[in-house]
């Protein structure tokens, strides 16, 4: 079983490819967390039982494979057929019989299971002709959706560990470092620090014992690329870490996985066990004489543990309090020993960089941001999901050409990037190329790649408050500016949202923001003001409306917003009546419905379901004025 040489790996790869090719047809059922939530497990089971029912020889004729995240989560459960390349979307278990009968046996395409282009209405059968997929360049996510992540041979068939073979048998550790430097890869966790520079600084630190760590804490709400990589192609992470360990002379590694990702923990565990079995982890890896092994450590539910020094403290069994920043963890990190910590996506790219060369990677992207980047495109966009694109792609292209534009064709307002440390990018900057420096200059950040699209029904004051409240809960509490500052920021924002804002509040916010940026111990506190500052920069008028007019222009803040049904537009469909959680709407079917302001809690549920746009929002203060009159 152990792979003792490069040749042995090549033989296994050929065998696995042969085995895949020998199957007349394959059905790939997406079992990433998203599709699992849509019920894809039942779909996979339905295929298996349908095949058994028809006594088809699964291994030869029709093989069912469960894979990681295909990325097009909006359309799950996703089923891809090979070799035809047909993609079926929103597949329910009760359609499986039909798929087997009509498509797999009969060769016919089922039109209403195909992806439908939102504007033209065209149905597209081929996976790689769908704009969502056509425009992607997958490097870190190269194998996700193609392989069964719990089967190492499947990963090997698609190229896993060939980068490692090259590194161990053809290159010296320093040559590996040089190659990573040529690639220009920068950390994909958010900070964008040059990978090679980090590795070199660890390598030059004195001592015999050092560590390589993988940051799987993906705490940015809205980002799930690391989850998909850990679940869907764990071997890409393992391979990258072994290569990095070889370059650095480290023999121990950890993958820190956040508590909220149980499937990632399971799939990584299976992958590590298999890698050990095949001699790709442990002693004498691939017969090279190099020893290295990996352990998994689960987080305990703390966003701050995505910060490198806090993560290391957590690995040491302590509370996740970050350490002073002048101590470089590349010199004194985990257990005060030299440590390299890189993000999941960073590690996942290393195998491909070594296999295909640093220059290949550097040929993609922009001057300062090389290669490709994974993004989770979510929010008020039609095609939500996970994508990977060359750096330099514009936000407009991502949101409109790949994302299909805004949900329900409402007006675009902003796209939030970089998580709670990032900022909002407004319409006038949509042609910004995605690049570390470009995003920072615009007042946002690359972050881990979360892109949250917002429409006109989003209040930017509320968005800033959301991030502040999130961070307030996640602050470790060690330093005064962050612990007290976040709490007080939320207090101020709560006043604005309740209509109790006063003149001087914006200045109060700005002064507090400045002190937090300068005085906080770690990046959580230092970057907490970013959503505040970016929303003030581009949407100051909304703040002023809240403070001066006691109005929420987006119609979101409940205490400032009232709802009413427009007589001419209402067709009495009764949907709002059913949606209202507090029975504040009265009306008989086919007749005009009425919202009662004294009972209405302004939750917007009726607005969201009304099919004729018959409900409008208006400032609650007008109600009070009406009462007075």
């Amino acid at each position: 079983m152990r792979i003792e040489s490069r040749d042995r790996l090549e033989t296994l790869r050929a065998q696995a490819r042969e085995s895949n090719a020998s199957r007349a047809q394959q059905v790939l059922v997406c079992c990433g967390t998203g599709c699992l939530a849509w019920g894809s497990k039942k779909v996979a089971e339905a295929f298996a039982s349908e095949i058994a029912k028809r006594s088809i020889d699964a291994t030869v004729n029709l093989f069912v494979k469960t894979t990681g995240c295909h990325g097009f989560c909006e359309r799950g459960p996703l089923v891809e057929l090979q070799p035809s390349g047909i993609l079926y979307t929103k597949v329910k278990p009760n359609r499986v019989e039909e798929i087997v009968e009509k498509t797999l046996i009969g060769g016919e395409v089922i039109k209403n299971l195909l992806y439908k282009e939102p504007v033209s209405g065209e149905r597209i059968a081929q996976y790689d002709e769908i704009p969502f997929y056509k425009n992607q360049v997958r490097v870190a996510m190269r194998n996700i959706g193609r392989i069964d992540p719990t089967n190492i041979l499947d990963a090997i068939a698609e190229g896993a560990y060939s980068g490692l073979a090259k590194a161990l048998h053809e290159m010296t550790p320093d040559e590996v470092l040089d190659e990573v430097e040529i690639s220009g890869q920068r950390g994909r966790g958010g900070a964008g620090f040059a990978t090679a520079r980090k590795w070199r600084s660890c390598k030059s630190a004195p001592g015999d014992r050092r560590f390589v760590l993988c940051n799987g804490d993906e705490g940015d709400p809205g980002a799930f690329k690391d989850r998909s990589i850990m679940e869907g192609d764990p071997h890409s992470v393992i391979e990258g870490m072994i290569i990095g360990a070889y370059a650095l002379g480290a023999h121990e590694g950890w993958i820190y996985v956040r508590d909220e990702y149980p499937l990632a923990v399971v799939n990584l565990g299976i992958a590590i066990a298999e890698a050990r079995k095949y001699g790709l982890l442990g002693e004498n890896i691939m017969g090279s004489g190099f020893d290295f092994d990996i352990k998994i450590s689960r987080g305990g539910g703390a966003f701050v543990c995505g910060e490198s020094s806090a993560l290391m403290r957590s690995l040491e069994g302590k509370t996740g309090e970050p350490r002073a920043k002048y101590v470089h963890s590349t010199e004194k990190g985990l257990f005060d020993l030299p440590t390299v910590l890189n993000n999941v996506e960073t590690w996942a790219g290393i195998g491909a960089i070594i296999d295909r060369g640093g220059e290949w990677f550097a040929s993609m992207g922009t001057e300062r941001s090389k290669g490709t980047k994974a993004f989770s495109l979510v929010g008020k966009v039609k095609n939500t999901g996970l994508i990977e694109l060359p750096m330099g792609t514009t936000l407009r292209h991502i949101i409109y050409d790949i994302g299909g534009g805004i949900l329900n064709d409402r007006p675009f307002k902003a796209v939030q990037t970089g998580g709670p440390s990032g900022g909002c990018v407004p319409e006038e900057l949509l042609d910004l190329p995605v690049d570390y420096e470009e995003l920072t200059e615009a007042g946002s950040m690359m972050g881990s790649g979360g892109m949250i699209v917002m429409d006109d029904r989003t209040c930017m004051v509320d968005v800033a408050r959301f991030f502040l409240a999130f961070l307030e809960e996640e602050s470790c509490g060690k330093c005064t500016p962050c612990r007290e500052g976040l709490h007080q920021m939320v207090q101020i924002y709560d006043r604005l949202i309740a209509g109790d804002g006063v003149e001087g509040d914006i200045e109060l916010i700005e002064r507090l923001a400045a002190a937090m940026k300068l005085g906080s111990l770690c990046e959580l506190g230092k970057s907490a003001p970013n959503p505040v500052l970016s929303t003030l920069r581009y949407f100051r008028a909304e703040y002023e409306a809240h403070i001066v007019d006691k109005a929420c222009p987006a119609g979101i803040c409940r205490e400032l917003t009232a709802y009413e049904i427009i007589e001419d537009e209402c067709d009495g469909c009764h949907a709002c009546f059913k949606a209202c959680p507090v029975d504040a709407i009265t009306g008989v079917v086919k007749e005009l419905h009425v919202i009662h302001h004294d009972a209405c809690i302004s939750c917007g549920a009726c607005f969201d379901v009304c099919p004729t746009n018959a409900i409008r929002t208006f400032p609650k203060v007008e109600l009070k004025k009406a009462e007075v009159v």
């Binding site: 967390t33 998203g34 939530a37 980002a223 799930f224 690995l315 959680p581």
Partner: protein
């Protein structure tokens, strides 16, 4: 600690046996303990402190720092509402409110009969299907307040 705890420490010994002694294993051990007992009982924590040779005060500090841990017994079914950014703008707040209405408890609380605990979670990574509710182990994507009753009733196999 209202009553004196009297947990079955047999399970604790089994868990401890699977890890090397010392502080680094603490969080992993606490996770296994939490999974076994559905919370962190104080007498178990005292035993863990003793076994790992870590001061009880440090064990207490770690137990209260991380959101995954509860020092109070939790409900048989944990209902988690994701309140990440994508879920927030797609209406997670309304889901929490509906759950509060139906169960009579707020986030972080457990029903009197210990059947349900509601928790808010900061992003479960299923952002493309926001908003997300997890009842036990079952994920419900694109969750709607009008369907909350259904999610709670069985929490099992049905499609959304």
């Amino acid at each position: 600690m209202a009553e004196i705890e009297c947990s079955d420490l047999g399970m604790t010994e089994e868990i401890l046996a699977g890890y090397p002694a010392g502080e680094p294993a603490l969080i992993q051990i606490l996770q296994d303990v939490h999974h076994a007992y559905n919370y962190l009982p104080c007498d178990v924590l005292e035993r863990v402190a003793e076994a790992l040779d870590v001061p009880l005060a440090k064990v207490f500090s770690v137990s209260t720092f991380y959101k995954a841990f509860s020092l109070e017994p939790q409900g048989d079914t944990i209902v988690k509402v994701c309140t990440g950014t994508a879920c927030h703008i797609r209406g997670a707040g309304q889901l929490v409110e509906e759950l509060e209405r139906q169960l009579g408890i707020g986030p972080g609380e457990t029903t009197e009969d210990r059947s349900f605990t509601i928790k808010t979670v900061n992003c479960v990574g299923a952002c493309a299907m926001a908003p997300v509710v997890i009842v036990g182990d079952k994920y419900w994507g694109s969750a709607k307040p009008t369907r909350v009753k259904k999610y709670l009733a069985k929490g099992a196999d049905d499609e959304n």
